[in-house]
Amino acid sequence: MKPEDNTYSICVGPVHPALKEPVKLNMQIDGEKVTGVDFELSQVHRGIEWAATRRNPIQVLFLAERICGICNMSHMISFSRAVESIGGIEVPPRAHYIRVIGAELERIHSHILWAGVAAHELGFDSLMHYTWKLRENVLDTVEYITGNRITKGLITIGGVRHDIPKKKFPRIIDTAQFYSSHFDKMADMFLKDRVIMSRTRDVGVLSKRDALTTCAVGPTARASGVKKDVRKDEAYAAYQDLGVEPVLPDAYTGEIHGDVYDRVLVRLLEVKQSAEIIERAVRQMPEGPIAWEEKPAALLAKLKPLAGDGIGRHEAPRGEVIHYVRMTGEEHPYAWKVRAPTYNNMMAWVPLLMNEQIADIPVIAASIDPCMSCTNRAVKAGTNDVIYSKEHLHRLSVQKTRELRRKMK
């Protein structure tokens, strides 16, 4: 504490439920206001890229899937696209459609998971349970298609590993329609509730300029009005045929604030958009082969001599994933760089948290949807080493919601 300027330093993390990722946020606090933000990321570096330089491309594909517990398919698609661009491998049309269906199912479950976390951070636990109950439907469908709920193992280099037979189509269409039809109810609960509105409207504002200079991606950038969506910009896989437009908040409210409310809105609209894409993809899916080479051993033999640089990009639920791969004709990739969306969105925390209140930290930090699991959190205030538990900070947030609710009655 510096007595002359009355600021305290508070550190949130490293392990922390709102962040869901071991990240340490150091904040300067003046009274209730955040006046300085800094973060440390060193807690979970696993050296996956290093491990990949001693594995063959097919093994790396499955390693890539394990980078993220939620958007695992994004990394598989990005890595495959990078290797495919090195070898000029053409993916059959049917495989493109199956990739889109898998990716969009993933987006639905990721966004709904996040919506639940946002509700929890605001102190609406019943809403959290309701949204997570809705999420079960898509997870069951993913299991029905691929055999697994989360790590789908659906992608291979040059196509997909298993087909979706026709008899499974009705169930996928049902799921898509389920989410289209529940959009209004979700919108009612999240977007029209006065208390949620006052906790999120004009809180944690990211201006369009800040979104551009901090290189933000995905819903975080789109909520600030940046029209950036790899699905449209690259029109890869079957997205060209399905006509995807980036979702901006003004489509619903007619204006762009770039606040937490807009980020909630963009994600809810994207759930609806994904449901529509899935339905169209299932109906338009062409017949034909599902992979460039179906047998893994034969595929590996063809991949080994590849040499060159490749970039693979994909629009994951949180934004653009980009993989850089260098192959040198040996069995292992020579270099592999993975850039997940949170890497870029992290910089947005600084303008987002500036001048906000302590009780808003959980929901603002969570609003960029930083990616990973959650356990515990400790807050260290001042020089007296007063350590509050994670419950304390959460309680502050819940208290604020309750007070607002009382005032509004």
């Binding site: 440390e40 990321l41 060193s42 807690q43 570096h45 050296g47 890229e49 290093w50 330089t53 001693r54 696209r81 495919e84 661009s85 053409e90 049309p93 493109h96 551009l212 200079t213 901090t214 290189c215 933000a216 991606v217 029209k227 950036k228 790899v230 449209k232 910009d233 690259e234 029109a235 890869y236 079957a238 997205y239 060209q240 045929d241 980036p246 640089d309 490749g310 970039i311 990009r313 653009e320 980009i322 850089y324 260098r326 069995e331 292992h332 020579y334 270099a335 760089k337 850039r339 890497y343 870029n344 992290m346 910089m347």
Partner: protein
């Protein structure tokens, strides 16, 4: 706008300062034959800053994706990945600038004055490859913990690489890093 026109501008501005130019066309869509265009070129480290400045001037708000880098033996190669022309269907162009740094002089200029969001990548390159970014606004470690030994750089493949501290990791000696 296409890759050719972007490159024409670069050639006009920098002439022989940019080398090894390739345009990669990645087939994208199904019905209409569209391509994702990827431009790759090398630029001397003296001209990196002016190349990025030219990019920012010509195409306002280019998206800086990430900087990747690797050890080629005698040199460190850095690859700055940018994208321009987003928001146009199948119109986005990826531009990658390669910069070679000799191992006896691992220094490069910062681009954070042009693109503030590049700070994460620059801090990462400093700790992972042991290079020095001149005038970087914040040179602390980011992904590596403070307890990680100094002088060990995880992305290097020479004696400063992570091999010696990874000796107990399963199959660490198998293939790859020699």
């Amino acid at each position: 706008m296409n890759a050719e026109s972007v490159l024409k501008g670069f050639r006009k501005e920098f002439g022989s300062k940019i080398k090894d130019i390739t345009i990669q066309k990645v087939p994208n869509s199904l019905k209409k034959k569209l391509f994702a265009e990827r431009i790759w070129f090398s630029v001397g480290r003296k001209h990196l800053h002016s190349a990025v400045e030219y990019l920012c001037r010509t195409y306002p708000d280019p998206h800086f994706a990430v900087c990747s880098g690797y050890d080629t033996g005698k040199e460190i190669e850095l690859l700055y990945h940018f994208t321009v022309n987003y928001g146009v269907r199948a119109g986005e162009i990826t531009i990658t600038m390669r910069v070679m740094l000799p191992k006896n002089d691992l220094q490069t200029d910062t681009i954070t004055d042009l693109i503030p969001g590049a700070i994460i990548s620059e801090r990462e390159m400093q700790e992972m490859l042991g290079i020095k970014v001149k005038d970087i606004p914040d040179s602390r470690r980011l992904f590596l913990d403070d307890t990680f030994p100094r002088g060990v750089f995880p992305w290097r493949k020479d004696e400063t690489g992570p091999d010696k501290i990874a000796r107990n990791v399963h199959a660490a000696r198998k293939g790859g890093m020699k």
